[in-house]
């Protein structure tokens, strides 16, 4: 494999600075890093308590980030899983409806996997766009959560387990934060070190080419949706344990925050580009922002406005398409047809 004359991957530059620039140009976390620094600096000056009581902040980051990590796996392949919010609610309700705690957790996680399989079935076998398929599932599962729970929050039978779950486990870290760290490391290793995970990038980058290269595209998409379903169900289990009850309406703000985290993290919605680390940065920034706003006494409604604005800005400010977009904007204002190819 050493003899590959004439093949260079990307731009080659000489010298350390050149190599650094090439590396930086390949990274996708720029916006997340910028947002992180702005949010962290402003918070440091205005509300330093966000950092001194870091357990609260870490808990919030884990809440936002866990679902976003699962989403990352799906979005890398250019698909989307809008059903995660409802999966979270359904998994929580399923878990609380079963009296035995261990059985309940297993049933909830299996529910998440099953939902992933159903989503992937509609996307891969039936051939529906994943936006619409998972949107239908979002509504269906939200209804299912209401039906299973009888339209009321379900109390967890084993309340002691829930209380123990909220306490620090190792050092200052609660089990929720530890599970989030484990999930982050697992998914990070999966998409960067494991062959199946690395192929997610290929599937998202160019599906035809991936198929021609012998990658089982359909199976990879099934895997991706199962990951996101499983992780969303895990988030539902954690929520239910912490609150000692399952709420069928849970997860509506999770949808917004987790998408915001993944998209700010630099992941391209059409697939093939982005990193799990970026999602972590995005989730961290949003977590700090939310805790800071809450501590400053800002209402939930205003927090939703701010996070909605961040998501809107993130989704329209993709650096690779920005040049094309500026051309489009000029054409739009001048009333001409767009001249540049679409991103």
């Amino acid at each position: 494999m050493s003899q590959r004359p004439g093949i260079t991957l990307g731009e080659t530059r000489s010298g350390f600075v050149g190599r650094l620039r090439t590396t930086l140009a390949r990274r996708t976390e720029g916006r997340a890093l910028a947002l992180f620094f702005v949010v962290a600096t402003v918070t440091w000056i205005m509300e330093p308590i966000v950092f001194t009581s870091y357990q609260v902040t870490l808990g919030r980051i884990a809440l936002i980030g866990l679902v976003a990590l699962g989403l990352t796996a799906v979005i890398l392949m250019g698909e989307l899983d809008l059903a995660v919010a409802s999966t979270l609610a359904v998994a929580g309700v399923v878990m609380a409806s079963i009296d035995n705690l261990a059985l309940g957790i297993i049933a909830a996680l299996l529910t998440g996997l099953l939902i992933g399989v159903v989503n992937a079935f509609f996307v891969v076998v039936v051939g529906i766009n994943s936006f619409i398929a998972t949107l239908g599932m979002l509504f269906f599962l939200r209804g299912a959560a209401f039906v299973i729970s009888g339209e009321e929050p379900v109390r967890l039978a084993n309340i002691d387990a829930g209380i123990a779950f909220g306490k620090p486990f190792i050092g200052d870290l609660t089990p929720r934060v530890l599970l989030f760290i484990v999930a982050f490391i697992a998914i990070q290793l999966f998409v960067t070190r494991v062959r199946v995970g690395r192929e997610f990038y290929a599937v998202g980058g160019n599906r035809e080419a991936a198929y021609d290269a012998g990658i089982p595209v359909r199976r990879r998409i099934f895997t991706g949706f199962m990951i996101s379903g499983f992780v969303a169900a895990l988030a539902g289990v954690i929520n239910t344990l912490e609150r000692t009850a399952a709420d069928p309406t849970a997860g509506s703000t999770v949808l917004l925050a987790s998408f915001a985290a993944a998209i700010i993290g630099g992941i391209l919605l059409t697939g093939g580009r982005g990193s799990v680390f970026g999602t972590l940065l995005g989730a961290t920034s949003l977590g700090i922002l939310q805790v800071a706003l809450t501590l400053s006494g800002v209402q939930v409604d205003v927090q939703n406005i701010i996070i909605g604005l961040v998501l809107l800005l993130a989704v329209i400010s993709d650096p690779t398409t920005l040049r094309v977009v500026l051309g489009n904007a000029r054409a739009f204002i001048q009333g001409r047809s767009e001249i540049q190819p679409e991103g």
Binding site: L80, L82, F122, V126, G127, I128, N129, F131, I132, A133, L135, G136, M137, L138, F139, F140, L141, R142, G143, A144, A145, F146, V147, E151, P248, L255, L256, F259, A260, I263, L269, Q299, D301, V302, Q303, N304, I305, I307, G308, L309, L311, L312, V315, I316, S317, T321, V324, V325, N328, A329, A331, F332, G335, R336, S337, E338, E342, G343
Partner: protein, 338 residues
């Protein structure tokens, strides 16, 4: 050709295959995607009239119409977004609630024309923000409208504090909401008029043609010299205006307005559009069919309410309906290709 003369049927088959014309067989999926809605709606109404107690009463039918009208007005406007292959406009939930609250609250404080003018400006703003983000910045419509939903509802709840606004017991809004012509409430007539108007826009105007063209092949439309960004912005503005009128009608029906009153409008409208036969793959659809879809979805919801099935079951049914209708459309397309 000597010997046995071919029969007439054989000749036609021979000619067809010579010319390369494929014989079109009856395909169930294609038929369901194309014409199924007529049969299903009729069947649903007949079954409901025969087996559900209380369905075929005048009071119930008026109630169905009253509830169908706001969703229908939202759906016919949103049809343009779906035809332009931009999935849907989730932010109608925020738009309908905003228009309703503005109509009641501002008309209480000053006058109805002022309220309508303000609501119109807000609708234009929604259409422009959604349309520019999707059309100019090429962002994904689902994500854009998801974020504008949260922004819009956040602003509305922040300003109103979640309180309920009551209209005056006498006045134009109240009388609009209660006037009936036979079993038809005035709102239903507004829905039919808007449907006819938007149907003419879609089938008879340059803009309507461009929406369809953009939906079926955006690259070709762009290369033809069309300013495609304006097409998308126009589609989102029509959707926003539909949502505004839907909000007016909803507020007039109950003579009250609250920020949470439009829950479920997004997927009910989408279900009506898709069940009506407008394709989420873009380029194909009609406003008249959406009206039929609205009837289907409203009758289905009414049957479930009369049968005592709660919100959860209704949401499950409509979610399943969306997935099923899109599946039929997708499978029919696949079958047509092979």
């Amino acid at each position: 050709m000597a010997g046995k003369p071919p029969s007439a049927v054989d000749t036609r088959a021979q000619v067809d295959s010579d010319l390369g014309i494929e014989k079109r067989e009856f395909r169930l999926l294609e038929w369901m995607a194309d014409r199924g809605i007529f049969v299903f709606t009729t069947a649903l109404v007949l079954v409901a009239a025969l087996f559900i107690d209380g369905f075929a009463s005048l009071a119930n039918i008026t109630d169905v119409f009253n509830r169908a009208a706001p969703i229908g007005i939202v759906a016919v406007g949103m049809t343009f977004v779906v035809i332009s292959a931009n999935y849907l406009d989730l932010s109608v939930v925020a738009q309908v609630a905003t228009a309703a609250v503005v109509l009641i609250a501002v008309s209480n404080a000053s006058s109805i024309p002022a309220a309508m003018a303000l609501a119109f400006l807000i609708a234009l703003a929604y259409g422009l923000v959604n349309g520019v983000a999707v059309g100019v910045f090429k962002a994904n419509a689902v994500i854009v409208t998801l974020s504008t939903t949260f922004i819009g509802l956040g602003i509305l709840r922040w300003l109103t504090g979640g309180s309920i606004y009551f209209g005056p017991p006498e006045g134009p809004i109240r009388s609009f909401g209660t006037t009936k012509i036979g079993p038809f409430p005035l709102s239903m007539i507004v829905l039919v008029l808007i449907t006819i108007a938007l149907s003419l826009v879609l089938t008879r105007t340059n803009f309507g043609f461009l929406v369809k063209s953009y939906g079926s092949n955006r690259e070709a439309t762009r290369l033809a010299g069309v300013n495609t960004a304006w097409v998308v912005v126009g589609a989102f503005i029509l959707s926003a205006l539909g949502a505004m009128l839907g909000g007016f009608v909803l507020a007039a029906f109950s003579n009250t307005a609250v920020s949470a009153m439009s829950t479920g409008f997004d997927f009910r409208a989408l279900a009506a559009i898709i069940v009506g036969g407008t394709s989420v793959f873009g380029g194909k659809g009609s406003v008249m069919r959406t009206l039929l879809g609205v009837v289907f979805v409203s009758v289905l919801t009414n049957i479930m309410v009369l049968s005592g099935l709660g919100f959860g079951y209704q949401q499950m049914a409509i979610g399943a309906l969306i997935v099923a209708a899109v599946s039929v459309d997708s499978l029919a397309r696949k079958a047509a290709v092979t």
